[in-house]
Symmetry: C2
Subunit: 288 residues, 2 copies
């Protein structure tokens, strides 16, 4: 295969198009239990995860190598979701399959006082991945138009200003060669309830539970509306949103994996040429 | 098994003791082709890598979780070696098997001008892993007593001062609950020559080659002496050196994996207790 083609897969239609939040997309109409574009069940999904990990690792190494030759391409995976939707599992099982030296993770918690003293994109811009890297945002600047809206931390005018700033910011990233892959993991309210209940049932899961998770859960409909608005205002040509049904963890993982593979394949990074005289260096080496 | 016991393994003697650079250790006497303490060959080694990865992942998650409950334990893996010895492979195949959210990588290149304006430990101290993390140093403060010695970047008095500073620094880390696992990957000069030759033969490996690697190679005996001195001066009770024969990549990987597993098992991290009333939270959840 040519270096820009993708390996065959079990996908019948591509998540890149099937899951994109195009104009007219309605979050409430997407079934969180569904598995769009993938024919098989859990067993086939797990096999796909392993299979595609090899392809992802190969193209990630080329992305990393290309940057040593001066290429500036990078990928930024933005992960947003309600609590328990599986962001951590994506990082562990999808991102975790490639060389950690090529990954830059950033988890955004509640902003610090210093961060609050700057514009909301200040702390974000500092974590944009450098050349050759796959950056991952575990939560992001979208919290500033989601929780900020639901909890009235900013008024409508400010939220609108932020939407515009986000679209501009992401367009700049794209222009710099950073492919922005925006993913919302979409679970149902019932599924979240079951997952929170499990965290309260298992002492080895207590550490993942925070009473504040239930506070946020009580605003479920408002969050769904806020996400809908986010897709309408910020799904751009340069940085479209993809909404991934995530009640089935195995599906969410292979879908995000495929989106990442798409982004890397589109970059089609090349091994850099030698910036030294190969024959001369062979002679030098032979003489040692 | 109790949470502090290690799973059964294919090791006949533990790398933790077999490979430790105790007083009297002589680098020149250790065969880089050998596989101390491991009975099998490459196939058994690869199986061991997969098997032990599960144990490592489990205890790493507990280390991470424990920090959320206030524990301050962490692990710092210091990797030193001649070029091509396989540091990158250790990061990819050993460290890369655990959750990337629990890993903090730091690669130390030639110091910048700003770094040079500070004491040599200044840039190092900033990268010490926080609670719950496995930190990995790809090269380290040891460059300041290795290349610095071989290339006469510092005089003997300064090198001696640095040895003392390192021992003190690492003892402080240990006192803070950071287990320091120091590993030198030991290859032969012939093996390095073969690996460099491969990088010059394969266009997909050119990016890993640097003509400077041959310059350093020409100082091979001086580097071996410098490493010997490092072991004698800095292998302490708090932070002993382990020298891992690394001509066989599969062996080096499982040996370092086992050393990491030992460090984590010795910490024996515990799932933190709930810092909330579990029954109360169950009721709150049920009411949503």
């Amino acid at each position: 295969m040519s270096s820009s083609s993708k390996p065959p897969s079990a996908w019948t239609t591509e998540p890149l198009t099937t899951l994109r939040a195009d104009p007219g997309f309605v979050l409430a109409a997407l079934d969180p239990d569904s598995t769009p574009g993938f024919e098989g069940g859990k067993a086939e999904g797990k096999a796909e995860l392993v299979r595609a990990a090899e392809a992802l690792g190969e193209v990630q190494e080329r992305l990393f190598a290309a940057s040593k030759g001066g290429a500036t391409d990078a990928v930024l995976l933005v992960l947003q979701a309600m609590d328990t939707a599986g962001k951590g599992g994506i990082v562990r099982h999808v991102v975790g399959s490639v060389d950690p030296q090529g990954v830059a993770l950033a988890a955004f918690k509640s902003p610090t006082e210093e961060e609050l003293s700057h514009d909301f994109l200040w702390r974000i811009a500092k974590k944009v991945p450098g050349p050759g890297l796959i950056g991952v945002f575990d939560r992001s600047h979208y919290e500033d138009v989601l929780i900020a809206r639901v909890r009235s931390l900013a008024d409508d005018t400010e939220i609108e200003r932020r939407f515009d700033a986000i679209v501009e910011f992401e367009a700049e990233l794209a222009a710099r060669g950073i492919r922005v892959v925006k993913v919302m993991l979409h679970i149902s309210s019932d599924e979240q309830k079951a997952r929170l209940a499990e965290r309260l049932d298992r002492p080895d899961k207590y550490w993942k539970f925070n009473p504040g998770d239930i506070d946020e859960r009580q605003h479920w409909p408002a969050y769904q509306e806020a996400y809908q608005k986010v897709f309408e205002r910020t799904s751009s040509e340069a940085a479209p949103w993809h909404v991934v049904p995530a009640n089935k963890k195995w599906y969410a993982r292979i879908a995000v994996q495929r989106l990442l593979l798409d982004a890397l394949t589109a970059i089609d990074p090349q091994w850099p040429a030698a910036d030294f005289d190969v024959e001369e260096q062979k002679k030098r080496l032979a003489a040692t």
